[in-house]
């Protein structure tokens, strides 16, 4: 055990002694913090003139939202919203540029979004034709909308039943609350996860391949622990490095976002952000689940990096391949029409980073069990990582020095 720790210590030293590692770590932290507040940079223009800075805009929206916080979402609030929006005149260009929007409607913009989702309308003007009864039945309408979407998917009947069942557990009525910090975090975490993956692939790629290019492989492999303990130490180093980096960058993202956008909203239902979501969880819980999934997806990505590192002769090749694997799937759109292809595609680390792939309306029947996507993704990440590591182990152990 003692010698194991000693070996791990040396592996960390090899990683951290490189100046490039230190630079990339610092840049990674700065970039993460910076991208959290990215949307606050710049200004909002109305007719070519600066109307407000985005930071002021966020503060104003937050002020408005906090003004409504604590109110139940019911027909009163909905009617108020519709009334507020009815002030907006018909104009060319963006309706948000009108004084009426700024004056009356803006405080209600999130509620307006919710109404449009629940009543399935594109243009806010269609809100005006929603009947009073229909507004009274907001939660029934919402539920039937959710059920319609579930029934329109290609899920089998057992899966549909499970999704329906879950959706009925969502607690209503919703109490409105400002949750700008959390909603910002939900968009930010995808970027943070990509940064984590990239840094990990750069720092972990040399773990094995670096010994080949440093030509230290023959020294290591001919030493007492060269074909067992040191490989365990290296794998442990790779995984623990990923975990530590993940924790650090998640905390950086969380704290930066909350400091700038506000800490409120952790106990509000996710439906304030995703009105038709079927999961009965709060923003805080979803943020935690999301971070955990990103952690395990990053571990999977690092396990893959280590396997490639043990197989290939050059760390650079490993980084290139891992970057392609990480970035490319983000651009591919997979249709939901054939559920198993869709679910399978979501098991690529980069796609695991997307909230909409983790929390969606799908249930998945697998080996007789019916599970939620996040359970599938988490289990897969854990199992696949554990399955990859022995291959990396064997690859290095059986490496031929030339």
């Amino acid at each position: 055990m003692n010698s194991f720790c000693e070996l791990v210590k040396f592996e960390y030293r090899k990683i951290l002694k490189k100046r490039s590692t230190v630079i990339i770590l610092i840049l990674g932290i700065l970039l993460t913090a910076f991208s959290c507040v990215g949307p606050l940079m710049g200004n909002y223009y109305i007719r070519g003139e600066v109307y407000e800075s985005n930071y002021e805009g966020m503060k104003k929206d937050r002020e408005y939202a906090r003004g409504l916080s604590g109110r139940e979402i019911n027909s009163d609030l909905l009617s108020e919203t519709i009334e507020a929006y009815s002030h907006i005149p018909i104009v060319e260009g963006r309706f948000t540029d009108t004084d009426e929007y700024q004056q009356y409607a803006r405080p209600y913009s999130e509620i307006q979004y919710m109404i449009r989702k629940v009543y399935n309308i594109d243009n806010f003007r269609e809100m005006f034709s929603i009947s009073k009864e229909s507004l009274d039945d907001f939660y029934t309408v919402r539920q039937s909308m959710v059920e319609k979407i579930i029934n329109n998917t290609a899920m089998n009947s057992a899966e549909k039943a499970n999704s329906l069942n879950l959706s009925r557990k969502v607690k209503t009525p919703f109490i409105y609350s400002y949750a700008g910090g959390y909603t910002r975090l939900f968009s930010q975490m995808y970027v943070t996860a990509l940064i984590i993956c990239f840094i990990c692939s750069v720092c972990i790629a040399p773990l094995f391949a670096g010994e080949y290019t440093d030509r230290a492989d023959s020294l290591i492999l001919s030493s007492k622990y060269g074909k067992n303990k040191i490989i365990h130490a290296k794998l442990f180093t790779g995984i623990s490095f990923t975990v530590l980096l993940c924790i650090v960058l998640t905390i950086v993202s969380f704290v930066t976002t909350m400091i700038f956008f506000g800490w409120d909203g952790s106990n509000s239902p996710i439906q304030l952000f995703l009105p038709l979501s079927i999961v009965p969880y709060t923003m805080g819980k979803i943020a935690l689940m999301y971070s955990i999934l990103i952690l395990f997806a990053s571990i999977l990505s690092s396990a893959l990096t280590m396997l490639l590192s043990a197989k290939f002769r050059s760390p650079f090749m490993v980084v290139v391949i891992m970057t392609v694997i990480t970035v490319l799937p983000g651009f591919v759109n997979i249709s939901e029409d054939v559920p198993w292809i869709y679910h399978l595609s979501n098991l690529v680390p980069a796609r695991m980073f997307k909230l909409e792939n983790i929390i969606n309306i799908f249930s998945i029947e697998f080996l007789g069990l019916i599970i939620q996507p996040y359970v599938l993704i988490l289990s897969f990440a854990v199992l696949a990582s554990m399955a990859l590591l022995p291959f990396a182990y064997r690859s290095f152990k059986n490496h031929n020095c030339i």
Partner: protein
């Protein structure tokens, strides 16, 4: 103590680098002598378990080369290997020591001891990237010795050493050979001439000769001649005898060659040395001093 190499073979795609070599090594210094590409490095890598043989086995006191216990008895200086340029010599040795399973305390002792023995103590804290080739080579020797190995495999250990270091190193090796198996490869004949108790001559993946210096040289003892002849005779001799050395002199040509009996008038028999034998076998590379 016995290192048994049994029908060890390594075949690369289309090239047999080591061809069914069987050897039994006991305590002592073995000098593996062979020209470039004869398979010395391939053989040593297999003995050290870092190259998978095509067939055959290596065992030390009955322990297979792939076992941890075998590696525990092994010290290896590869021919061509790298260091972590950002590590200091001392840290590098500590790292190697922990790979070899030394306790932290012992690692420190051994690292200092060997840094002293190879004359690197005063630069112990300097980064390895500031070292010269010969200093790195000495560090390599130090790392091989950290675990006090029973089997010491040195692939061209004297490459890059200056004459003073070379001699110091030769003395070190002959001391080390007292209670362990030392196998060292070289193509510099004088490196092994004095210190190897057994000389192994390798050609095209096979050990074509083995024995003590005297035994080996006896093959050509009394058959080495030197003569100075004119150009016509030179052509004749070159065509008919294995030439060891040619030197152009003012009007004649000086030749050292191997022949069963005196090859020409005026030729004198001289005592054979290992280099004669080496050149006799590998005589494509005739020396031509100008």
């Amino acid at each position: 103590m016995e290192l048994i190499i049994d029908r060890l073979t390594k075949q690369y795609e289309n090239k047999i680098a080591v061809d069914r070599i069987s050897l039994t090594l006991k305590e002592g210094v073995y000098g593996l002598l062979g020209p470039n590409g004869s398979g010395k490095t391939s053989l040593m890598r297999m003995i050290c378990g870092v190259l998978k043989p095509t067939s055959g086995e290596v065992k030390f006191n009955g322990i297979d080369v792939n076992e941890e216990e075998y590696r525990d008895s092994l010290g290896y200086l590869p021919q061509d290997f790298g260091y972590y340029p950002e590590f200091s010599a001392y840290d590098f040795l500590l790292y190697m020591a922990s790979l070899k399973g030394l306790t932290k305390h012992r690692a420190k002792d051994k690292a200092s001891e060997w840094l002293e023995l190879v004359g690197l103590l005063d630069v112990a804290k300097k980064k390895i990237k500031t070292f010269s080739g010969g200093m790195k080579q000495r560090l390599g020797i130090a790392q091989a010795m950290l675990n006090n190995p029973k089997i010491l495999i040195l692939d061209e250990p004297t490459a890059g050493l200056d004459p003073k270091e070379r001699i110091r190193f030769r003395n070190l090796i002959s001391r080390l050979g007292k209670d362990r198996i030392v196998l060292l490869s070289t193509h510099i004949v004088s490196d092994v001439e004095y210190i190897a108790s057994t000389i192994l001559i390798m050609k095209d993946g096979q050990i074509i000769h083995q024995g003590s210096l005297d035994e080996i040289i006896s093959v050509i003892e009394g058959k080495v001649y030197e003569c100075s002849v004119d150009s016509k005779m030179t052509d004749y001799l070159i065509a008919n005898y294995p030439i060891i050395n040619i030197r152009e002199e003012s009007d004649k040509t000086f030749l050292r060659l191997v022949a069963d009996k005196s090859p020409c008038e005026g030729a004198v028999a001289v005592p054979a040395v290992l280099e004669d034998l080496y050149l006799y076998y590998f005589n494509e590379g005739v020396n031509r001093d100008e």
